[in-house]
Amino acid sequence: MVEQTLHSLSQFLPETTLTITFCISILAGLILRNKPKVIPVISFAGILLATVFAVRQMGSSQAVFSGMIVVDPFAVFFKLLVGSTAVIIFLFSIYSQEVQSTLKRLVEYSSLLVAMTLGMFLMAGAVNLLMMVLAIELTSLSSYILAGYTKEAPDSSEASLKYIIYGALSTGLMLYGISILFGLTGATDVYAINRSLAATSVNSVALLIAVLLIIAGFGYKISAVPFHFWTPDVYEGAPITITAFLSVASKAAGFAMLIRFFKISFIDFNLLAAHAGGVWGLLQGFEWNKILAILSVLTMTLGNLVAVWQNNLKRLLAYSSIAHAGYMLMGVVVLNDKGLAAVLVYFMVYLFMNLGAFYVVMLVANKVGSEDIDSYKGLGYRSPFISVAMVVFFISLAGLPPTAGFIGKLFLFAALLDARWVWLAVVGALNSVVSLYYYVRVVRNMFLRDPEGSTEPIRFSFPQMAILLLLLVPTLLFGLFYSPIVELANASVLMFGVR
């Protein structure tokens, strides 16, 4: 048992690094009380190191800690995604006025970001339902506090409170679903659940209720309609850096868990072996992908239609991120590895374009002091470079060539049409058209409207521009030269214990 634990620890390096970083950050914050600016540097270095360790896990595939967590290409992919998002968020924080104006709480800010990253790393690898709940809770508890980080602002406290209430409810529902599933199958391990479902038939109504309740927990994490109510308020009230982190990393970790739970629990391994190309058969004839298809249509339609009416750019991006969760759910619905790879490609692309859009909003809010769409009037003349970058991010979010967003959508729709889900593809395409309207509305304000009030040019420093380029270049580059991300995605669909 000792050897087993030691071996597990050797496969647990990224998470261990994050845990140690978290402890050191807090201790350093207590000791160096007069130099709070040192702490983010420590946390940043820790997250960077953890991401490097995650890179070194590439290609390995095994279960550790008596089957609680797995290290497989799928988990490593999401660890890299979350880790790089966290690194970029730390870079954002250097220039965030909301964060820098509360130097006294910088220790809590950076150490909780580390804790949140740790939770998401665990979410990426968890294969036991109890471990999944624990990982969700670790992530959520950190994000509740961070959402209310600027506690002087009333909407920030409101965001935090709303987040915690919705979070508690959805975790409760999910735990209830897990308890029903445990009653049906006698297991909390997804592999054991699969074996049990393959061996004996269970009451289909009870199974449906259990899965619906568990979907409530996952749906809250990925902000899918009808579990999305917290998203706009939290995204608007939280500091922009945290909003950006939640919109990418939290969603990615939620998707990782959702995909792993559904794929492994309900996949028919006999059918998988019989067919080539990674097509999943479903146990017990339980077509959970139809539930996800309905969820996906609701999510993208509501997200896009409500985003049209928003005047606050943070709220607009919140609804747009709800819509993007809907697009990505389409890739899970098709039940094959091609769809899964499309979701992974989409996430890589989404990382750059969504973080980029939030970064521009933050830079402009620092100078103009508002996130209103009206305050973007004439920005194209006052600060051309920033505005052009924003246009690229928005075109990419809308899914137009030659940007990376187009490639993401292309692979999703190709996978859908391949699996004969034509109606869902049509709904997705129509939604993309709607989304173009509200993205272009901002672009119109920037370039086709005269500035109101001040017409002074807005200048940004060189490092700020460098961070922007870090996000802008991949958004353009992956639109033209996409084979590396597609190859990475294809290599990352492999899960431990499947095939």
């Binding site: 048992m1 845990t19 402890c23 807090i26 207590l30 009653g183």
Partner: protein, 147 residues
Amino acid sequence: MLTEFGNVLVFLIIGAIFVAGGMIASWILRPHRPYPEKLASYECGEEPVGDAWVKFNIRFYVVALIFLIFDVEVVFLFPWALVYRQLGLFAFLEMAVFLVILLIGFAYVWVKGDLDWDKPKPEIPKIERRPSAMRASVKPQVESVTV
């Protein structure tokens, strides 16, 4: 034959009947003579003072949370102590790591002042002791009283 969950269900039903049966039987048999003292809520023999729905100091919750963490720590220590002989040094190191992480949290709470209880600060009137000046101001008043 009942399943294991069936046993639990039977236990729940019998438990509910047991409680409800006692309540209903005493409600039928007992005399009904209510008076204010009888209707007041029972607080260990003390006379109730005001409503129970008052605002509690938020520090109670903070202390309760901190207590909970260390309570759980102790719960973890018991099974550890049972298998300690078989695992030896390894178990010792594992528990040491666990305790160090908790201690960091404890240090954080301590330094941030969450263990200090905010005492109410009654306003004590200040007495400025300036004997000679006081005498100067008091004397004419005293004289005016005697006169």
